[in-house]
Amino acid sequence: MATAIERFDERARRRFESLGRTVVYVGELRRHPVYTRFLHWMVALFFFLALFSGFGIYLPWLFRWFTPIFGGGPLARALHPWFGIFCVFFFGLQMLNWLKPMMWTPADTNWMRNLRGIVSGKEKLEPPDTGFFNAGQKLQFWEIVIGCVVFLITGIILWAGARTFGSTLVAISYVLHDVSAIVMLGGIFVHIYLSTIGEPGTFQAMTRGAVSEPWAWTFHPAWYREVTGRDPRESYEKAREETERAVTQNPSESKLRSK
């Protein structure tokens, strides 16, 4: 079974690589293939379409101004389940694609112990055993997996309605659908923040598909070691010495930079 999924993913990655391309410049590492990026942005697109079309139904007295975007209440209601289906479909493919790197390891438990230092910004470098994904990313991934399952089941129940599933099941689904949306909405802020301004240099991983080497040894040192064969700590120290040497050799540049 696992090998069947791997074969499917590999074929998809190969096919998409011939459709698009991933340019890796000198000093960069290949992060996400075309297939992964395509799936990510499809999930993102349909997630936000589902989110915004759902807002007007979630809290109509507050978010009623979202429904005209979709052509009014009836159309927002009619489109919302389809947006959700597509979102879950593409995320399902992404889940298969990422099943292996998203497995929990002892390194992730270690990472969670360092969470405070990472959030407070005191730990500049991630723990040296942090691989392709860190524990925070894995937690969010599995939250979305569970969320998508909840969305799908409760969504189908709400879609068919009480005449098919009965009032009690609809009432329970109504609450669970909301809970899933609330958790995912809270999570999406963190996701967007960390992938853009929160950790500069991350966004290009999902657009161009490549990241800088300093980014890799800072945030995913074990992955850096795996793909380059070099020690992330050594690479970092070397880069630091070079930077310092450049500054001492050229103090005017140091002044410029510090401003």
């Binding site: 109509p60 209601r77 009480a162």
Partner: protein, 301 residues
């Protein structure tokens, strides 16, 4: 035409802010009284309802009873439910109950509805659906304790009995009342109907040996604007699924009005949280960063 009157809305589904015009007019609560003890199952009310509301009649399902169809439909709002209740002595009590929207004082459909103005309650107590505002989500179906709102799959709009709000606004009684040949159906103010119903129940208890006779006007949903006189008020379930204590699912009450906005705000605080992180702790950059001015570590010390 002196009886003509604009029905004033007192409650509106999913409406932000106050309801325009509330508290201006004084209005009596209207009520339909159904005396199940004098119903003969002639179905004249069913026909009158279909006639007045111009609804086409379709094929029905025969379920070995006298009932026209198993339950009400989007275009069939008034259904006499026939039930055979076995008595203790082995005989059978044949029960007929006119099933339709109960026009609850505290309507579950209205509480569940997420579409602004799709469900309204008039000051006279009538609960009405405005199909032009309906989004077809069917939450009202699950909010109703009486299984009354029905979706028209063609238009994706939900329909139910209007208590002939179009007739009542003109000072006329509902069509079903007009058609009833036995006087089993009565229409008037809630106070009058409640009085007549209680008198009739007392009569049944005193003169007809029906010790358990009583009035069905469930308190759990604030009373209804359709009330029944029942042979046995202690067991309304036997009249074809009339709930003893109808309730609105808590998902449309405490969850919808308290937890939804509060938890939704918490989710939005996620955005506030990352903003605060950005302006206090700041971003984490790939290392090494250029050395800081005066060799500080960036924490200001």
């Amino acid at each position: 035409m002196s009886d003509r009157k604009t029905l004033q809305i007192q409650r509106m589904s999913a409406h932000p802010g106050p309801i325009p015009g509330t508290g201006v007019q004084r209005d009596v609560q209207v009520c339909k009284l159904v005396d199940t003890t004098t119903c003969i199952g002639c179905k004249a009310c069913e026909v009158a309802c279909v006639e007045w509301n111009d609804m086409p009649f379709g094929a029905t399902t025969f379920d070995n009873t006298y009932q026209t169809m198993p339950e009400t439909r989007w275009n069939f709002w008034n259904l006499i439910k026939f039930n055979e209740h076995p008595r203790e002595d082995g005989t059978v009590q044949w029960l007929m109950r006119k099933d339709q929207c109960m026009h609850c004082a505290d309507p579950g459909c209205l509480a569940a509805c997420p579409a602004d103005g799709a469900i309204v309650q008039y000051t006279n107590g009538i609960v009405d659906f405005n199909q032009e505002n309906c989004i077809g989500c069917e939450y009202c179906v699950s909010g109703c304790p009486f299984n009354i709102p029905k979706l028209n799959p063609g238009t994706k709009k939900v329909y139910k009995c209007t208590l002939c709000s179009d007739r009542v606004g003109e000072g006329l009684e509902p069509a079903c009342i007009k058609a009833c040949p036995t006087g089993c159906l009565k229409f008037g103010t809630k106070d009058d109907m409640k009085f007549i119903a209680e008198e009739r129940a007392k009569q049944l208890r005193d003169n007809f040996g029906m010790e358990k006779a009583g009035v069905y006007d469930p308190e759990s949903i604030g009373g209804t604007h359709v009330i029944y006189v029942l042979h046995d008020a202690t067991d309304p379930e036997r009249y074809g699924g009339l709930p003893k204590n109808p309730t609105i699912p808590w998902s449309y009450t405490v969850w919808k009005w308290l937890f939804k906005p509060v938890l939704g705000a918490f989710a939005l605080f996620g955005g506030l949280g990352v903003l605060l992180h950005y302006v206090t702790v700041g971003p984490r950059r790939p290392q090494p960063e250029p050395p800081n001015k005066e060799g500080t570590n960036g924490n200001g010390d």
